[in-house]
């Protein structure tokens, strides 16, 4: 199947957006604004595709009574609860996410669940640090020392005497070696992004289209 059409679209659209970034020209800038607005609208409609995929997956699990099929019922229940309370119910002037039931579900179910998942990081970071920070080599030892110094400098657990300068040491590690290496990686990332974007615009990289590379 010929990829010429999609490649031409990618090239024209890409060059126009690059032009909008650099040039001050009314028609071009208006076009770019129009494209950005319509991207947001199209992305919103694309949710229909995603929901259809989700439904198909869970309905299939229910039909075939696969492992964990009961959780698919929970998924449907949560989905419909938020949709119905958010779209179809009103309470005086309060509609949508302001409806008390929808707000209750958000505040008492969604928020605590999100916070719970985030809090798992505390446990996982402990197990990851215990497993990974072994002084196997010079670099590993430096990593281990830096991690310990930053952790001790960040909290007021060891204070006074020789530990007075821990916060300054921590700040130095973050400001100098950490910042330098971060910026170096970001420069590389910036160039990589530019290269990948230009490859796609000029049609050198075509794997994102699927199909054979002709």
């Amino acid at each position: 199947m010929s990829n010429r059409g999609p490649l031409a679209v990618a090239f024209i659209a890409g060059m126009l957006m690059i032009g909008d970034y650099f040039l001050d020209w009314g028609p071009l800038n208006s076009y770019a604004e129009w494209v950005q607005k319509y991207y947001i609208i199209i992305a919103a409609f694309a949710i229909v595709l995603g929901v259809a995929s989700l439904f198909k997956l869970h309905l299939g699990k229910l039909k075939r009574k696969e492992d964990g099929w009961r959780y698919s019922i929970v998924t449907f229940f949560g989905f419909f609860a938020m949709i119905v309370t958010g779209l179809f119910m009103t309470s005086g002037d309060l509609t949508g996410t302001k409806h008390p039931w929808n707000a209750w579900l958000y505040t008492n179910v969604q928020l605590p669940l999100g916070a719970t998942m985030f809090s798992l990081l505390a446990f996982f970071i402990a197990s990851a640090a215990y497993r990974a920070f072994r002084a196997r080599s010079l670099e590993a030892t430096l990593l281990l020392l830096a991690a310990c110094l930053v952790m001790l400098g960040q909290v007021p657990i060891l204070t006074g005497g020789v530990f007075e300068s821990l916060p300054e040491i921590k700040q130095w590690i973050l400001d100098i070696p950490n910042m330098a290496s971060k910026r170096a990686i970001m420069i590389g990332v910036g160039l990589g992004m530019m290269s990948t974007a230009l490859k796609i615009i000029f049609g050198i990289e075509r794997t994102y289209l699927g199909g054979s590379e002709e």
Partner: protein, 286 residues
């Protein structure tokens, strides 16, 4: 499996249990901590202290429940400070999951000071577009936020009558779990000259120190430790009881210590095992 092997391969569930204990005990039984207030936090506090009574402040509430442990204590402390000083507050957000959290917090704290929505504070809600929104507020906020979070038109909100752009705010505060501080520095401060104070999570804070050094930010509150420092300043200035940040700081301190102890144990096992299987020792034993 000898002791050195055991030290190197502690079951992660024991680690989780120890972490749970060292975190939960300080949270249930908070004690005051000897916190040194850092210069960036002090600058942020003093800049907000210098906001005249009756003037307007814009707060960009850019975090959701995932980051509330680090940023909500700072947000609450700043709201207390601003309401104490009778400063008008306009809240917007660039994150879709943030408006409800902002609303709940504003309602909770404003009632303590008998502050009225629409008169003393307003929540204009979420608008997608990130830097485009930040840039647009420099020309006309009414255009980008035609109604508040509850759908009331801004022209019918008494507080918003005389507020059109950054010139009408004495200060802009960005409470950010992402990189929105970059947009505010570039647009609000760089293009429109607005004074800016920011609060950020521990992971992002390092990126924003250069702005503080270049005076593009007038203050920077970082992570939970920054929030605890801010609570200490509020306690000194207004007698406000230290809240979750101070309690959380103790938990964090114990957790850091526990992680370091586990790391040391793992390395003790590693080195002891290495010494035992050293070729030099094996040749001596032959």
């Amino acid at each position: 499996m000898n002791i050195w092997d055991k030290l190197q391969s502690i079951d992660r569930r024991w680690i989780f249990l120890v972490m749970f204990i060292v975190i939960i005990i300080p949270l249930m039984n908070p004690k005051s901590l000897d916190i040194n207030v850092s210069e960036p936090t002090r600058k942020a506090f003093e800049r907000i202290e210098n906001v005249p009574s009756g003037s307007n402040v814009l707060i960009s509430w850019d975090f959701d429940p995932g980051s509330q442990a680090e940023l909500l204590p700072t947000a609450k402390a700043m709201l207390h400070q601003l309401f104490e000083k009778n400063v008008n507050i306009v809240v917007i957000t660039l994150w879709p999951a943030a408006p409800t959290l902002a609303d709940t917090t504003l309602n909770e704290i404003s009632t303590l000071y008998n502050k009225q929505e629409g008169v003393d504070w307003v929540n204009l809600g979420f608008k997608p577009g990130l830097d485009i929104v930040v840039k647009s507020m420099g020309s006309d906020i009414h255009e980008i936020f035609p109604a508040d979070d509850k759908g009331k038109r801004v022209e019918n909100i008494p507080l918003m009558k005389d507020i059109r752009n950054y010139d009408d705010f004495n200060l802009v505060i960005d409470l950010s779990a992402g990189s929105s501080v970059d947009f505010y520095v570039e647009q609000a401060h760089g293009a429109y000259g607005a004074d800016l104070v920011a609060a950020a999570t521990g992971v992002m804070i390092g990126d924003f120190y250069p702005y503080l050094e270049a005076n593009q930010l007038q203050g920077l509150v970082g992570a939970l430790v920054g929030a605890a420092e801010y609570e200490k300043l509020m306690e000194k200035a207004y007698g406000l009881e230290p809240d979750k940040a101070t309690a959380g700081m103790q938990a964090q301190a114990k957790a850091h210590l526990a992680i370091i102890i586990f790391i040391v144990l793992g390395n003790i096992g590693f080195f002891a095992k290495r010494k035992k299987t050293s070729p030099k020792l094996e040749s001596l034993n032959k």
